[in-house]
């Protein structure tokens, strides 16, 4: 789950990385008592869960005298259709130089990968194209508590040595907070020292519970509902509802819909060993999406039993057409149950998908 900037900065502060003086406000009136602490030059940043916020008008520069009006303006805006409910009001720094720092997980080496670049404030992809020599990389053996000093020296190049400590602190935050991404861009030098001017932090969804995060904000209401029932669900925009078992098979079903010229309404993997009740919830959840005209069920039974799936489909009792492919464990029993109720069944995933595309065409 992505943290918001003010949450990410709270993490950085906890690990001893300096951040600009700042306050989270939920209305323009809340700004007044903080004006003295923010100094003359102030920046207001909308805390919305969307990328490219600066270009979309979500960041305003202001002065002590204009800040409250600017906050009112920003609260009245929508950033990429999202209302602004929280603003991070920060002291504006006198920047001497901007660097880029990030830690991600490198799938090839199976280790945390640190990227440090001499020019920050721009996307790392842009730097990779324009000035590849400005980027330095290191991977850290995950059993080590700290980054070895030589590695820090290699990363820094001619950058100030005190940044080395910040890299190590970010590495500790990355490990202790179960991060998939920790990024400071830009990391800036000022006459008062080094500061994290902006921060991004993504926490591993498999570690939310132990990090004390109860609600995954990255999910929509329906996606959260799905999570409660034990299946994974992603909303898409087409008219063909999809239920599969296993992430790969379900993705392949979506791709097949595209191949035959249709559009899928969702990705839904009921997971291994689904019982009838879970399947019923899955069918109902998809049927509740207004754009869904037909539902394709593509199920390859292993630990999942086809008769359980059939019972789930039947008990959902939805109005849309359901086209079913069942194969594997208890296939005959499942087919019998569905054919008694008049459901359409076909023998391969190609056939069910083709049929569904025809129905919606």
């Amino acid at each position: 789950m992505k943290l918001r900037e003010y949450e990410a900065k709270k993490v950085l502060k906890e690990f001893g990385i300096p951040v600009p003086a700042g306050f989270l406000i939920k209305s323009a009136d809340e700004l007044a008592p903080h004006l003295n602490d923010l100094g003359e030059n102030i920046v207001l940043k909308a805390q919305v869960d969307v990328g490219g916020r600066g270009k979309a008008g979500g960041i305003l520069m202001a002065h002590r005298g204009t800040a409250i009006q600017a906050a009112k303006d920003l609260f009245a805006k929508k950033i990429k259709d999202l209302p602004v409910r929280e603003i991070l009001a920060e002291q504006r720094l006198e920047i001497q130089h901007e660097y880029y720092l990030s830690i991600t997980i490198d799938r090839s080496t199976k280790q945390p990968l640190i990227l440090f670049a001499d020019n920050g404030g721009v996307e790392i992809e842009t730097t990779a194209q324009d000035r590849p020599d400005a980027i330095r990389k290191a991977v850290v053996m995950p059993l080590m508590r700290d980054i070895p000093p030589f590695m820090l020296r290699e990363l820094l190049g001619s950058a100030p040595m005190e940044i080395g400590q910040i890299i190590n602190k970010l590495y500790r935050a990355f490990c202790d907070k179960d991060a998939m991404l920790a990024e400071i861009n830009p990391l800036v030098t000022t006459s008062q020292g080094v500061f994290a001017a902006d921060a991004k932090f993504i926490v591993d969804d498999n570690a939310l519970a132990r990090q004390g995060i109860r609600v995954n904000r990255d999910l929509t209401d329906r996606e959260r509902e799905a999570e409660k029932h034990g299946f994974s669900y992603v909303e898409l925009s087409g008219s063909i509802g999809v239920i599969g078992n296993g992430a790969g098979l379900t993705m392949a079903t979506l791709d097949l819909i595209e191949f035959y010229g249709g559009k899928a309404a969702n990705f839904l993997d009921v997971g291994g060993g689904a019982e009838s009740e879970r399947v019923m919830h899955a069918v109902r959840l998809i049927a509740s999406v207004p754009s869904v005209k037909v539902i394709v069920v593509n199920l390859l039974g292993g630990i999942t039993k086809c008769d359980e799936v059939a019972k789930g489909i039947i008990s959902a009792g939805i109005s849309q057409k359901v086209i079913v492919r069942l194969a594997g464990t208890n296939e005959a029993e499942g087919r019998k149950l569905l054919s008694e109720k008049g459901y359409e069944m076909l023998s391969t995933m190609d056939l069910v998908v083709k049929k569904a595309v025809e129905v919606t065409a």
Binding site: P142, A207, A247, G248, L249, M251, A252, G328
Partner: protein, 291 residues
């Protein structure tokens, strides 16, 4: 044999849990069919002295290894403790560790895999269905009824999609040498490259089907590393960016790891890529005709 054969003695961690018990039964049914040793010991802390389908259960891996000649293991332990199981087994000297468990925090996985590497153990998974060498050994949860013995290796990040492809291959009369599910997490032990290296040394394997999905670039990295003829399939062409498609590792991030660019890179390296699973058998036949 690439990770094990009839002679391989297997240990199961999480032996007394619902999943562990169920799959010890299935693995040993398969072992009896092919005349293999199968699962010979189980481990669940605090349950030492019990039996599961006639298999003795111990409190620790070291205790089990004092009594039995075990070289491989399959882990069914819940996510919070599974990384510890990998570390315990590597510490005890088990050579091949198959981790079925899903939802292990990735930092735990990184540490466990690094630890296993230091101890010379090989990790398959986590979040995987394990592996099956038809006629020899099953380590994991794959439905053995779909498989047939032959010369095509299969490597996949997925479970049921692998069974779908294996089923298609078997129906088309194309047998498999070994089928390995490497797992759907962002960090996994054996990657496409590692398994391909084993297939290269395996005299039985003549061609490989590589089943990938969105996220990362391990498919391309693997395909580039081998001389074996390959047919690839990549799932997730319709996956939107920044959304996790069921697997923790199936995500297009920062514009990287999307299906179209993966497919383009594979094709650029001369690897034929199937546009749907049902095309795979015919493309494998075409490989055999040309080589």
């Amino acid at each position: 044999m690439i990770y094990g054969d009839k002679k391989t003695g297997i240990l199961v961690q999480g032996a007394t849990g619902k999943q562990g018990e169920f799959h010890i039964g299935l693995m040993n049914t398969y072992a009896r069919e092919v005349g293999g040793r199968g699962v010979i010991a189980g481990v669940t802390p605090g349950k030492g002295g019990q039996e599961v389908h006639g298999v003795p259960v111990y409190n620790t891996v070291k205790e089990a290894m004092r009594e039995h000649d075990v070289t491989a293991s399959v882990i069914f332990v819940p996510a919070g403790a599974a990384a510890d199981s990998i570390i315990e087994e590597a510490n005890a000297g088990i050579e091949t560790i198959v981790a079925i468990t899903e939802h292990i925090p990735v930092h735990d996985t990184m540490k466990a895999i690094a630890y296993a590497q230091v101890h010379g153990s090989v990790v398959i998974g986590p979040n995987c269905p394990g592996l099956l060498t038809p006629g020899e050994v099953k380590m994991g949860i794959m439905p053995s009824g779909l498989f047939s013995r032959g010369s095509v290796g299969v490597i996949s990040r997925s479970g049921t999609l692998t069974y779908e492809v294996v089923d298609e291959l078997t129906r088309a009369g194309i047998g498999q040498s070994t089928v390995v599910g490497i797992g759907g997490d962002p960090v996994i032990g054996q990657t496409f490259m590692d398994v391909l290296e084993r297939f290269e040394k395996d005299p039985q394997t003549k061609a490989v089907v590589l089943i990938g999905e969105v996220g990362g670039n391990l498919e391309e990295e693997g395909a580039k590393s081998t001389d074996l003829p390959i047919v690839a399939y990549i799932a997730g062409k319709s996956a939107p960016p920044d959304k996790r498609m069921g697997h923790a590792g199936a995500i297009v991030e920062g514009g990287e790891g999307d299906a179209r660019s993966k497919i383009a890179r594979l094709k650029k390296n001369g690897v034929p890529v199937a546009s749907r699973p049902s095309e795979i058998p015919e493309m494998v036949r075409a490989l055999f005709r040309t080589c």
